[in-house]
């Protein structure tokens, strides 16, 4: 599958990209929320989006809202990956339409479980 990975911390992007590439997946790395939206709206659309919500260039929260509001991108699974200290964040992002919430540090098992569940085939 082709996965868009958006995080302003390139170390996180490198870790997630490494995990995905090791399983033969393609990765589109981006480093802010605006780029994430632009890439998501291009064809062919990515099969899934892994998104940090604490980024410059408009927040990831705004990106989730816009992605889920657009017909072109509403069906792409969005997995939020965040290290936020807000205990209610999982509920908040799911209420906005995010399909899964994963807490940092990056956990390979949880990441592939979410992808397997959300991306058909």
């Amino acid at each position: 599958m082709r996965v868009l990975v958006a995080d302003d911390d390139r170390i996180i992007v490198a870790i997630v990209a490494g995990l995905l590439k090791a399983k033969g997946h393609q990765v589109i790395p981006v480093f802010d929320a605006m780029q994430a939206m632009m890439v998501a709206m291009k064809q062919p659309a990515p099969d899934a989006i892994i998104l940090d919500i604490n980024m410059p260039g408009g927040t990831g929260i705004e990106a989730i809202k816009r992605l889920k509001a657009s017909l072109n991108t509403a069906l792409i699974p969005v997995i939020v990956l965040s290290g936020t200290t807000d205990p209610q964040i999982a509920e908040k992002v799911k209420a906005l339409g995010a399909d899964a919430f994963l807490k940092k540090p990056v956990n390979a098992v949880a990441l592939f479980e979410a992808l397997g569940r959300l991306v058909p085939g």
């Binding site: 870790i15 490494g18 290290g83 200290t85 540090p105």
Partner: protein
């Protein structure tokens, strides 16, 4: 340290750091990084008080060699007697090796990114503390926490989290007091990562 930077270049910054170390036993190892391998770069870096020099594009082998050379020379007494962070290891090597799936190239890439980026985060935190800038402090501490935790650096992540929370509370006094410990922990994690990556390379 990058040599070409806005406001204060790396040579001036190094000279300023060396000035603060005068009369003390402290000597922070500084490796200069320049964009183009120009004749005389090495001499200028060393003349400013730097201990080593590498040119961009950064080759992990050269960088690790430069670090090893300096860290090996570092006297043991220079190790900070910082209050330990409870229990956690500096680096969960087994966890990180599992995460990269035994891919040494990825391990070296991640270690190299942390060695490049963590000093930037520390500098952002330091200037946010100086300017009492809550938002910048929270962001930089948050980012450092996320990458350190994901690489298996629980102690660095713990201290970064402490600073992130202090930023949220606006408690700059406590945050400033915790900053030296963060610097120490980041240094230990950098050394542990470069050792682990160096081992994978051989």
């Amino acid at each position: 340290m990058d040599v070409q930077m806005p406001e204060m270049d790396g040579l001036a910054a190094t000279a300023a750091i060396r000035e603060t170390e005068k009369g003390s036993d402290r000597h922070r190892p500084i490796i200069g990084v320049t964009a183009h391998a120009m004749k005389g770069d090495r001499e200028r870096c060393l003349a400013s008080g730097m201990d080593g020099y590498v040119s961009k594009p950064i080759r992990p082998a050269a960088l690790f060699a430069a670090i090893h050379e300096l860290v090996g020379k570092e006297p043991r007494a220079a190790e900070p007697a910082a209050a330990p962070v409870d229990g956690a290891a500096v680096l969960d090597e087994a966890g990180l090796l599992t995460l990269v799936g035994g891919d040494n190239g990825l391990l070296r890439e991640l270690a190299g990114l942390f060695l490049e980026d963590s000093p930037l985060r520390l500098a952002e935190i330091e200037s946010a503390l100086e300017g009492s800038d809550r938002e910048s402090l929270e962001r930089a501490a948050h980012t450092l926490k996320g990458s350190a935790a994901s690489l298996g650096g629980a102690r660095t992540a713990d201290v970064a989290l402490r600073l992130e929370k202090l930023a949220q509370e606006g408690d700059f006094t406590q945050a400033r007091a915790a900053f030296p410990l963060l610097g120490d922990e980041v240094g230990k994690l950098q050394r542990a990562l470069s050792r682990l990556a160096g081992r994978g390379a051989s």
